[in-house]
């Protein structure tokens, strides 16, 4: 490993390490209930999250998130292509889309609970309702922005409609779609937590809320830390996958600039 590569791997760890050290040091002698020593939080992390609540709370949370996110992306892309390709459908549906996406998704929770019930499905539905919009709107944008010359090429070489969409339009729109998917990722994670704070019996959000309600201050912090780590891992994972899939886009852009 070269020196610069080592530096690039180590650098992102320096600030977190410093912050943790600072937290440890300032909280070590704290007696305030709301600011427990980090050592007690770590103890709580060990006791609850290694690995007792991984199976009972983390896995159910991530399962609901994954299902909801995949559904949001799939429906966002397919509806987005449909709307992007048909100007009339777009004009007809735009007011409805703008109305629906202006409603803060947490406000939809009571409605979803009444309509779907209190099981996993309502939580998944809430994630879909919040995460679908950035994917949908970016797909519409991306599909409309496809270079007309590329479409001429596709038609001239006899590519059928389905092939044109799959091999030309979607890849051409993919930089925008991926940007929408990234926004949807954060929204999905937030809604995963929120959906678990109402009418729930497990999950990360449920755990944090119940720790707080039982005056378990270190447990509350521990839950928040787990949520942060989940977000970090999911976002990094997304970036790694994106860098692989969108390699052509970076390469092509570098040449243009």
């Amino acid at each position: 490993m070269t020196r610069s590569r080592l530096g690039r791997l180590v650098l992102p760890l320096v600030l977190p390490a410093a912050l943790i050290a600072l937290w440890w040091w300032t909280s070590s002698s704290s007696t305030t209930f709301f600011f427990p020593p980090l050592s007690r939080i770590v103890k709580s992390l060990e006791d609850d999250w290694l690995f007792e609540q991984v199976g009972t709370d983390l896995v159910p949370s991530l399962t609901r998130f994954t299902v909801g996110y995949v559904l949001a992306v799939a429906s966002g892309i397919s509806l987005g292509v449909l709307i992007g390709l048909a100007p009339r459908v777009r004009r007809a549906s735009l007011p409805v889309i703008e109305f629906l996406r202006s409603i803060p998704p947490p406000l939809m929770l009571p409605f979803v609970l009444v309509v779907i019930g209190i099981g996993d499905n309502s939580k998944i539905a809430l994630i879909v309702l919040g995460a679908v919009w950035p994917v949908l709107l970016n797909t519409v944008d991306g599909v409309r922005g496809v270079d007309p010359l590329m479409l001429d090429v596709a038609r001239s070489f006899g590519l059928g409609r389905a092939t044109r969409i799959r091999r030309v339009m979607l890849p051409a729109a993919s930089p925008k779609i991926v940007a929408g998917m990234r926004t949807a990722l954060s929204i999905g994670l937030i809604l995963m937590i929120i959906s678990e704070m109402v009418a729930s019996s497990n999950g990360l959000g449920f755990r944090v809320l119940s720790a707080q309600r039982s005056f378990d201050s270190p447990g509350t912090y521990a839950g928040v830390i787990v949520i942060g780590v989940v977000g970090l891992v999911v976002n990094f994972g997304f970036l790694v996958v994106e860098a692989r899939i969108m390699r052509w886009h970076r390469g092509a852009r570098r040449v243009e600039m």
Partner: protein, 264 residues
């Protein structure tokens, strides 16, 4: 026998008082194996004409026939090469996949696709570059790839829209010679639109000189320079200079308001 028959094709954009006639009753034919160049002043409807011929756009009036069948959509027997290679090649596919995509769409078996792509890439000098992405190649090489894609499609007619206008002069000469080589071997019918008079005279069997918009055919010039042509010796011939001058004069006088002379 004619392979391509353009009969009184007009294209008008818009309607009523705002209507703009881009091309006005253009008629010409192409014989099999002929290399036809279309030259015109900038801003004349060259691209409109080519889009009508290729079936990408319906003419307002008039008809296009390919092998006696009317062209209403892009026909299987035509393959295009566009000026802007960086937008006509798909950047998310490597060169090989760019060349084979149309063959896949035509449902050719894999072995045949591979053979056609291999031959086409080799014939433009990109035999070993198939795994590279378009943006990893120079402009000239990208345009070679676009030509390979058109050749692998096995058309009867090659349509080229200002194919060499975006590369430097040296590459341009190389690509012109490459086109002549390919044409000599395949004997495809070639329809090439250009604004470069030298290029048209150097390449063509016949040159259609267009007038400014509303575009008509101003004159058809037969180029009987000997083949094979050569960048230096051909261009030194007095006939070359003479043809070049007469095309130039036609385009120059087309800038003025005198009536076009349609002696096709």
């Amino acid at each position: 026998m004619t392979v391509l028959d353009i009969d009184r094709v007009s294209k008008t954009y818009g309607a009523g008082a705002d209507a703009v006639t881009a091309i006005d009753e253009i008629s010409f034919t192409a014989e099999p194996g002929e290399l036809l160049c279309i030259v015109g002043p900038s801003g004349c409807g060259k691209t409109t004409l080519l889009r009508c011929v290729s079936g990408l756009m319906a003419p307002t009036t008039g008809t296009v026939h390919l092998d006696d069948r009317p062209v209403t959509a892009p026909p299987r027997a035509m393959a295009p090469v566009f000026q802007d290679y960086s937008r006509s090649l798909l950047p998310w596919m490597n060169i090989h996949d760019n060349v084979t995509l149309p063959l896949k769409a035509a449902r050719l078996p894999k072995a045949e696709r591979e053979a056609l792509a291999g031959d086409a890439l080799a014939s433009v000098g990109l035999g070993s570059q198939g795994r590279k992405y378009p943006w990893q190649l120079s402009g000239g090489m990208q345009q070679r790839a676009a030509i390979a894609r058109a050749l692998a499609y096995q058309p009867e007619i090659l349509l080229l829209d200002e194919p060499f206008a975006s590369v430097d002069a040296q590459t341009r000469a190389d690509l012109e010679d490459l086109l002549l080589q390919v044409w000599d071997r395949t004997r495809l019918t070639v329809l090439l639109v250009t604004h470069d008079i030298d290029e048209a005279v150097y390449l063509a069997d016949r040159i259609l000189v267009l007038s400014p918009a509303p575009t008509r055919i101003r004159k058809t010039i037969t180029v009987d320079l000997p083949r094979p042509r050569h960048q230096i010796t051909t261009k030194e011939l007095p006939e070359f200079a003479h043809l070049r001058a007469s095309v130039f004069a036609l385009i120059k006088s087309a800038d003025r308001d005198d009536p076009p002379t349609d002696d096709v």
